[in-house]
Symmetry: C2
Subunit: 562 residues, 2 copies
Amino acid sequence: MAPSTTVPNGTLPSGSVTGRLASVYSEVQKTRVDHALPLPSVLKHPFTILHGPPSSAAGNPDEIAKLFPHLFGQPSAALARSDAAQTQKKLKIGVVLSGGQAPGGHNVISGIFDYLQERAPGSTLYGFKGGPAGIMKCKYVELTSEYIYPYRNQGGFDMICSGRDKIETPEQFKQAEETAKKLDLDGLVVIGGDDSNTNACLLAENFRSKNLKTSVIGCPKTIDGDLKCKEVPTSFGFDTACKIYSEMIGNVMIDARSTGKYYHFVRLMGRAASHITLECALQTHPNITIIGEEVAAKKLTLKNVTDYIVDVVCKRAEINYNYGVILIPEGLIDFIPEVQHLIAELNEILAHDTVDEGGLWKKKLTDQSLKLFDFLPQAIQEQLMLERDPHGNVQVAKIETEKMLIQMVETELEKRKQEGKYKGEFKGQSHFFGYEGRCGLPTNFDATYCYALGYGAGALLHSGKTGLISSVGNLCAPVKEWTVGGTALTSMMDVERRHGKFKPVIKKAMVELEGAPFKKFASLRDEWALKNCYISPGPIQFSGPGSEVINHTLLLELEAQA
Amino acid sequence: MAPSTTVPNGTLPSGSVTGRLASVYSEVQKTRVDHALPLPSVLKHPFTILHGPPSSAAGNPDEIAKLFPHLFGQPSAALARSDAAQTQKKLKIGVVLSGGQAPGGHNVISGIFDYLQERAPGSTLYGFKGGPAGIMKCKYVELTSEYIYPYRNQGGFDMICSGRDKIETPEQFKQAEETAKKLDLDGLVVIGGDDSNTNACLLAENFRSKNLKTSVIGCPKTIDGDLKCKEVPTSFGFDTACKIYSEMIGNVMIDARSTGKYYHFVRLMGRAASHITLECALQTHPNITIIGEEVAAKKLTLKNVTDYIVDVVCKRAEINYNYGVILIPEGLIDFIPEVQHLIAELNEILAHDTVDEGGLWKKKLTDQSLKLFDFLPQAIQEQLMLERDPHGNVQVAKIETEKMLIQMVETELEKRKQEGKYKGEFKGQSHFFGYEGRCGLPTNFDATYCYALGYGAGALLHSGKTGLISSVGNLCAPVKEWTVGGTALTSMMDVERRHGKFKPVIKKAMVELEGAPFKKFASLRDEWALKNCYISPGPIQFSGPGSEVINHTLLLELEAQA
């Protein structure tokens, strides 16, 4: 592999080599680089596209139809084997990574690249650098075999890096058009979450409306697992991230059982939906798991959640277990209505009033909010009063929910102890598992799934498709039987009213309380609470036993569908 | 495997099954349970013991000789192949786990058990429960093949659990004697760190002085890696723990490079010595690594450490790198003399004076301590003033060093920005990797090493040896060539004067600034600081590539010795 002087996230004096190419790889990284990936059979042969019936929208189809006049109603596309020779037309394709990292992103790019190499030789693949801003600023690198090689099956997004910008204003759409024209792009693959795929669809509509030849295909990325639908069974990265977190949780469980004196409160990434927390629970069987969607559905208060934990702690103490493991989703407090009210009131008060030392300002809170505020531990009260984002809002994301819960549980247990209702000992230990899960080496599942998503995206672009999200299905079957195709992005959309206007959105897929994964969890959690049914999944294996296990969420959802 | 109603850390109503036996094992756990371990050749055949020359002590041999009249000067013992038939005498052996968990403890026990089964059939192995307290209270379980089976090659100490009690007072020694007599023990294996092995030697001396037949053999356990000497090249658990932390650090590095906007401050376990931090640095190549022993040797202040970090951050900003990864040992502030002074002064002031809101109490601090106190971020000042242990002392362990450093670096960077010396952006993210490393599934190295340590301990007891620590050497060679024997615990000891009396101690092995691991690190760190030479070791593999790699510290130390 030839050194390159084009370097993600920084520049060194010319001639020096950095990024992946300067790195010495670990044994495991080296093996993974050369790991050959299986392809679904349908991608190994010439194919034709079969179309489904016209599609609708996830909600408000009339509004979606108005927002996407050129794209609305597109049928889904399924690849099927064909003996007809395919066009050998050379393509110019761009690819962009959008939003937070998820293991497997590099493989989507490798998949697109290999498709082009094998099915449309002489094609060009451009990687836009630093996310959608790279499209707008026409900042790109031409991806070659040598450039891509060291990133194959590796974690991270550092091949071309990502960014959180959106292409939103007419000016920005214009910039994107200019880039598409300048590079003579036949197609663009947008690898991202719900927002980025919505954006991809707007871009596809815009290009189509301007009679640009550039097609746009999305790819479902997010470790949070909240971008999915029947035809897109999972978002990539979820499998790897959950397995990394579960490895750590399993270790902490064995530690808890060995020491016998700590309650470990583990906060897990996932602000909007609790899929990660649910999946990790199914993998490891913790004593207590809080699922945000259930808290919201049952309109639980913070006191309810605390009491639920305290009840279990007390029952466990009666059978001499003064330890345990508790999983909490990062977004927990966003799910609690009373916390939302309190924060809204605080934002209002802090914006307009002075906060006096004596606490007179508190009189401006409603009774319910005041009660909640006083219930909160002092450290959290201070955090709510002091930490502000640039808009003056309370930074909910900065609240360490796991520490807050430990303090609230301590206080409640102390109360019960004084009432003679609790005789145990309680020591809380807090953990946050987040960044370590976003950039791990992708599991065999994510590596293969992403490669198929990318290869399939290449096939869709080659067939002139636009406004679809790459869809690989039948994932419980052997890889050769996986289905490959595309689903109309508009079919996943609904509208939200913002500033008096309808905005299209792909609705986040939340944990369904009637879905198979939650129901399985709910049927077992009481047993997990009192017995210690801990499972330690151990480190992700790339070969041998355990290396082909897929996550429970996907398996249960697919089984329920079958 | 038959269910058992004897359960670690808790009791359930009779008839119910819990602990490992109630657990569903993960694929990886299942495979590991049945993983066959290789034995050094010398343990596969009848053996004889070869003795070295009389030993001395690590320091103050005269005092050690007085403290251990029956044991001082014992030669080391090396197993050698012999064709002479060995005694088939049945043995009664006890085993205890002492102190914090380390991956591999269960395998030491399996090794002892298998030795007895194979070489002294009809023997009995008792597991004392909950650490040394189990010996004193004669709380034990008879370890059978069925009992041990589910714990083979598994992490944790939950087979018999551990504890931090010490056998110290004459009364406690008496209790230990009574247990030894009651169970008619031929031998006892103490699996622990430096303190526990010192304790094991005191117990051996005591049993010998009372003419009890019970021999005592130690085993070197600690993830911290600070119990070692020439004949005991490493303590078990260090390899696994460092690989687990390095997996996480490697992931965070790729995240840092992909996002390009965070400095990750990673605090790693290891209060007394910085071996873990050094090893993780050698495995992953972070931009900045703080080694406590170097800070102490160079008498650095907190300001020096902060400036070192800030200098690197500024230089990186000049080449457009506004991200990086920084490793910090848990015990950092214990290594900084000025912090120790400040804490001593605070303890004194808080014990005798009232702390006034106005801050007049600060006048009681020495100039140097006052300056340091004012330099500390407010949150840390508050922590120092508020958090007290039961003896009224500041709880240094609770100070989140990584967060403290982030705040100090922020403040200093802000200053430099105003002086026009820094133009970058700085965002710190803090991590603590601790509990998740103590109970992971042991690596192939730790699993095999521990099994040999245990098997060897069985052989030493079978030969009537006492006061030795099980020693397995030649670890860079194939397992069959590993050496097995025992080293006089007194030879590792020095004395410390406490309350006017000499106390024997096995000195913690600190990071040697002249040792090969530190020197290698020191020769590379400037390059790592500015270039991004990150390595992502990936998850521990149990088969295939990467599964037989041993840690850098051990490899470099053994190579330097050779």
